[in-house]
């Protein structure tokens, strides 16, 4: 991690954990009241590990082994409305089945934490990684944070409760990791002592819960006269996330020495071409940058972490001095002029007086490997397009045409 600062850290333990296991452990330490989840590959380890904590009497959480992901999120909303701290986990088809209630969770302003092990959508059915699932839910009112390492998944899960439950925010949050690539890979994870996490996350202070002493009506019918105001408030709350995210991270850094930022820059200062991506391809891109730098190429990486809300203003500043931005993304938006990540980046850059060229490479769908060669190919293409002064809106890489 570029932003890691070494300092005296509280004595925790160091473990080899998969991304899923790291998230499950974080949830355990956050002392959640309810976990309501359904198994789906590659998220299942989270639920399995948590049920083991429960079976061993290590948590006081009520675990609801629901009959579907739709009910998983619905039970989360109920528990959260009662004032509990709640979490769930899903992926792919499971997230798709939750779709309807994702909007209910955010519209009802319930700070639910949802861990997503990103996986391709059917059909054809595929269990491997791409970002189609959570990208599809990018307008659902969930905060979205994409992690690059198991350590980051652990840390982000802990921080996510503080961000979501903040009274200026009160929105649900997705903590996303790449399915299998992170969910099932064992990495070194520094765990915090239980009491440090407990002190950091505190106890949820709900705003207007279902209270029999103070009865309120939640989730009423709301028509032309007020619906829009609710959405206006939701949008405002989402914009509050920037500040709260920074504050929570600053506090987390004080405790742990670790922070990640809304995005991470890697050798971008003098870069002519900045490769922009997130999650696991970002790690590969950094290795490619090191190799290209040795050959004298002026290239860097901007790794997004916070995708919702999208830090457009900061990003525009960060990218403004580059000649081109090469976006690598694991999602195809059929029939769209360009794909979700590039769409956001282009919008962020649109008002710059001198805009970098943006290229958009769709890679790794359905878990197709994204080796350094694919990143290099995108880089070389971007260089050529710069020389020509013209680039296609997007293209796919690493696929039989």
């Amino acid at each position: 991690m570029a932003a890691t600062v070494k300092m005296t850290k509280p004595k925790g333990s160091i473990e080899g954990l998969t991304g899923d296991a790291a998230i499950a452990y974080a949830l355990k330490q956050c002392d959640i009241d309810v976990l309501s989840a359904y198994p789906i590959t590659p998220q299942t380890i989270i639920v399995e590990d948590y049920q083991r904590f429960f079976a061993e009497g290590q948590v006081k959480t009520k675990v609801i082994p629901v009959e579907s992901e739709h009910s998983a999120m619905s039970a989360c909303i109920g528990a959260s409305a009662a004032g509990a701290r709640v979490a769930t986990a899903s992926a792919s088809a499971g997230l798709a089945l939750m779709w309807e209630v994702l909007y209910c969770a955010s519209g009802m302003r319930q700070p639910i934490v949802l861990a997503v092990a990103n996986r391709a959508l059917s059909a054809p059915i595929n269990i491997h990684n791409d970002w189609s699932d959570s990208y599809g839910a990018r307008d659902s009112g969930f905060i979205q944070m994409y992690c690059q390492s198991c350590q980051e998944a652990y840390d982000t899960t802990i921080m996510s409760f503080r961000i979501a439950e903040n009274h200026n925010v009160l929105l649900p949050a997705m903590v996303c990791i790449d399915g299998f690539i992170l969910s099932h890979n064992v990495e070194r994870v520094e765990l915090l002592p239980d009491e440090v996490v407990r002190d950091f996350v505190g106890v949820r202070v709900p705003v207007q819960p279902l209270d029999t002493d103070k009865p309120i009506t939640m989730g009423p019918l709301c028509l032309t006269d007020y619906y829009f105001e609710f959405k206006e408030q939701e949008d405002k709350a989402m914009r509050e996330v920037f500040k709260v995210y920074k504050d929570v991270e600053a506090e987390f850094q004080k405790v742990t020495g670790r922070s990640y930022g809304m995005y991470e820059t890697y050798k971008t200062k003098d870069a002519d071409i900045i490769m922009l991506t997130h999650s696991s391809p970002a790690g590969t891109a950094k290795a490619v940058v090191d190799a290209l730098r040795e050959q004298g190429e002026k290239v860097g990486v901007l790794r997004m972490k916070l995708f919702r809300p999208f830090p457009a203003a900061e990003l525009a500043k960060e990218l403004s001095s580059a000649k081109a931005v090469a976006v690598f993304e694991k999602c195809l938006s059929f029939g769209a002029p360009t794909n979700p990540l590039a769409l956001e980046v282009r919008t962020a850059l649109y008002d710059l007086p001198k805009k970098p060229m943006v290229t958009d490479f769709v890679v790794g769908l359905g878990g197709r490997d994204v080796p350094p060669a694919t990143i290099v190919e995108g880089y070389n293409k971007t260089k050529q397009y710069l020389e020509k002064g013209k680039a296609p809106l997007y293209e796919t890489l690493g696929v039989r045409k």
Partner: protein, 313 residues
Amino acid sequence: MSMKLKDLLQAPEVLGSGHRMCAGCGAPTVMKLMGMSLRGPTIVCNATGCLEVATTIYPYTAWKVPWIHVAFENVAAVASGIVEGINAMQEKGRYKQEHVDVIALGGDGGTFDIGFGALSGALERGHDFVYMVYDNGAYQNTGIQRSGATLPGQETTTSWAGKAEPGKRQRKKPIAEIVAAHRIPYVATVDPFHYRDFITKFRKALEVEGPAFIHAFSPCPRGWRSESSKTIELARLAVETGIHPLYEIIDGEQYIMSGPSKSLKELKPVDEFMKLQGQFKHLFTPQWEDFRKQVQQQITADWELLKKKCGVE
């Protein structure tokens, strides 16, 4: 609890006046009787449906107890979450009430059909809550479409009566028995005409440990094309004709016929129930005479089977 009408009327109401349910709708009466059955702090969860939309048009609400609506097909899951959230907070010493009753309400569409998966899951998991379906025989809220609760011969906007069709052809799902097959502690059918029976059963449902299910019959003048003044009479006729017999099922095993049904010497003809409603009008034309007889036969056969299960006669 006292079953004297004078005492029952002292119960604080759960649904205030000024709600926007149709004149003659059975559901507000069903809610009133539910309110008379309560024993303490209660949270109500409501599936999408007539009751939900007409009682909570923002910024107004008719509900005097904590109430939540999330979506159509998930009220049992929402209730699961509330029950377990409260349990967890109680165990951690963060909840002030010693006990809160949680009730989930759904219409027949939200219960027999789209919400059935969530209901079945919640019953299997055994959360301590009461689920009540107010069954008005169709998706009345969206404009009278057929549901799994629609009776054979009933005309709806998705089961029209025409030259070729007599309305819905299929039988009604026996929801109480399907629910009881989950072996939950308590299932009962109720009817707003028999209010003492209703309140007694609802109270029992609250008192058992684990899930309980109440199947309430709820006439709908708008959908049924019936006089708004005939709602309670229709509710009574539903019991007397065997359309909605009153019984309890304990632990999914023991069937008990309830007083009002048990005291019936014989069923009244289903015609008496149908005649008061425009939605069965076509069945009284010569073309559908036979179909109407078949419906009667089916209701009679179901009644005989129920009597056998209850050990009556």
